[in-house]
């Protein structure tokens, strides 16, 4: 028996969300009184691989060959399901990331496993089955799902479980790829990553703005505030619909759901669809010139004022704080 965790990386480096899933999987392994095995695919240094021991992985399986440098849902499913069977895994943990969403459902079908995605808390073990809390209704509710597969797959949301260090010596084992030639029906032509931008779904701090900014020409104010905090930028649906900002910044029911430590909403009234996407943020700050804006009702802190004046002042105050702090 074991718990298997799939560890995602971007160009050979693990991200915070990877350490979150390893920490989460470790806690499950402890609940089940068993070992934690991590599986990494692609180009990674020995040093990166053994760093997973910091978070409690006793064994790190590494699979790499020329075809596995980029994500391929079918090939990665073959490798993961093979490892899950060989390691006798009863639980497989992945990140509920963009790639995780392509991988976890295939894996669940291949392994005839129960699957819960969008998981936000540790499971409760009930004999052979487990019960786990996940988001539902686009952030407006949670569902407790009972999984009763002989093996179950959990896909954990970003920022839902804290990173926790539990150092052990990780044994790194290289494995041959168990992908089949017929798995390679897709090929990655290009990867575009905005290196200077913080990824929104995983961000700790988010500065988001709506139509109250009056136009895209005023967005530098939002970017400057985000920069002073080291935050990702986001926007409301009307703003992305109007083409002021790209769709991938749209937060809300039909966009991205975020759960940062701090969500600052500037000039967003707080329609129910927007609130759904941000309700699991730990702290919400609302800046709006309309004191009746519904967003204030679900905020922790509020400022009534004109964004064009308040935002630059807040940026200056943040800069002063970080220089003194």
């Amino acid at each position: 028996m074991s718990v298997l965790v799939y560890v995602e990386h971007a160009e050979g480096k693990f991200k915070k969300s990877t350490f979150e899933v390893v920490s989460y999987a470790k806690a499950i392994a402890q609940q089940l009184n068993t070992n934690l095995v991590a599986l990494a695919i692609g180009n990674l240094s020995a040093e990166q691989l053994s760093s997973l021991g910091t978070y409690g992985a006793q064994k790190v399986l590494h699979v790499n060959d020329a075809q596995l440098g980029t994500f391929n849902a079918q090939a990665y499913t073959s490798i993961l399901s093979d490892a899950a069977q060989k390691e006798g895994a009863t639980v497989v943990v992945l990140a509920n990331s963009f790639s995780g969403k392509g991988l976890a459902p295939r894996l669940a079908v291949r392994l005839k496993a129960g699957l819960a995605s969008g998981v936000v808390a540790l499971p409760t073990i009930q004999g052979a089955s487990l019960s786990v809390k996940r988001t539902a209704y686009s952030g407006k509710a949670f569902a407790h799902v009972k999984l009763s597969g002989a093996i179950n797959v959990l896909a954990l949301n970003a920022n839902a479980y804290p990173v926790s260090e539990q150092p052990v010596n990780a044994e790194v084992v290289s494995l041959a790829s168990s992908a089949k030639p017929t798995d390679f029906k897709t090929s990655v032509k290009e990867i575009v990553r905005a290196s200077d931008k913080i990824s929104l779904p995983e961000a700790d701090l988010v500065v988001s703005a709506g139509r109250g900014m009056k136009g895209p020409e005023n967005w530098h104010l939002i970017e400057e505030l985000a920069e002073s905090l080291g935050a990702a930028t986001a926007c409301s649906k009307p703003v992305s619909d109007a083409g002021w900002r790209p769709h991938e910044e749209h937060v809300g029911q039909t966009g991205i759901s975020v759960s940062p430590n701090l969500y600052i909403a500037v000039g967003i009234s707080g329609a129910i669809q927007h609130l759904a996407g941000v309700s699991s943020s730990k702290t919400i700050v609302v800046i709006n010139k309309d004191p009746e804006a519904p967003f204030f009702k679900v905020a922790d802190y509020g400022i009534v004022g004109d964004a064009m004046e308040v935002v630059p002042q807040l940026t200056a105050a943040m800069k002063a704080y970080s220089q003194n702090g």
């Binding site: 849902a73 459902p105 922790d300």
Partner: protein, 245 residues
């Protein structure tokens, strides 16, 4: 070209979500149900691809008879025919299994879904279909171009995008940006009533996931207001009280 679009029936985005007294069931009373917005985007893309008689679009839905207005809406927007698998959609595994059973001998060139349903948010059906049908699946795409038998798709990744090429049949789940919304015109609405809608029985399947209960988020405490003339106070509160910076 033959395209299959998978659609689901979900509470309208403005719905306030409530449950029955023991929190085991969604309270649907007074709730307006709609075609899942992401599925509508997938359907819009299929219509773009088939424009000028380049193909046919079938929509498939797993649900009970009460969901037929949503299926008619999809037909009004522009699907050619529809299939309803007559069963309550218990989980993504069940839904994907039913759709795969229907699609396996129909030779669709592509199967499109929305990125996720706005009620269950599993984002699972497309990739599960890929596995059941042994076809490539590309999840959460923002762009799709066809060039003969070759498709180029752009999928979202953290902090960027990945451009993927695929030969032959594939499955993709669609996000905003992949197409413009289509508004049904009067002719579409009229013809939707007479377009074919086939109802098929569901296949039985062992279930591996069950929702035991629902929960609504705990409400936040009262908002603390800060004077616009004293933003430094907000920085202080975020640091010393909320401890988030």
């Amino acid at each position: 070209m033959k395209i299959l679009v998978c659609i689901s029936n979900v509470p309208d985005t403005t719905t306030k979500i409530t449950f029955n007294s023991d929190n085991t069931e969604f309270n649907a009373s007074g709730v307006q149900f709609i075609l899942n917005p992401y599925d509508e985007i997938a359907l819009s893309k299929a219509i773009d691809l088939c424009e000028g008689g380049k193909g046919t679009i079938t929509v498939i839905h797993v649900g009970e008879a009460s969901t037929e207005p949503t299926i008619r809406k999809a037909l009004a927007i522009g699907a050619d025919d529809a299939v309803r698998i007559d069963a309550a959609p218990s989980d993504a595994y069940f839904v994907a299994y039913q759709i795969a059973a229907y699609a396996k001998d129909k030779n669709f060139d592509m199967i499109l879904t929305g990125r996720e349903s706005i009620d269950y948010n599993g984002a699972q059906v497309a990739a599960m279909l890929g596995e059941f049908l042994d076809l490539p699946s590309i999840s959460i795409i923002k762009k799709l171009d066809l060039n003969g038998n070759k498709a180029t798709l752009s999928r979202e990744i953290e902090g960027g995008k990945e451009v993927v090429e695929v030969d032959g049949p594939f499955i993709a789940s669609c996000a905003e940006g992949v197409a413009e919304w289509k508004i049904p015109n009067m002719r579409g609405i009229m013809s939707a009533r007479t377009k074919p809608l086939e109802v098929l029985a569901a296949q039985s399947l062992e279930t591996l996931s069950v929702v035991e209960k629902f929960e609504t988020p705990t409400p936040r405490g009262a908002v603390k207001m800060v004077d616009a003339a004293n933003v430094a106070k907000l920085v202080d509160l975020l640091h010393n009280e909320a401890k988030v910076i």
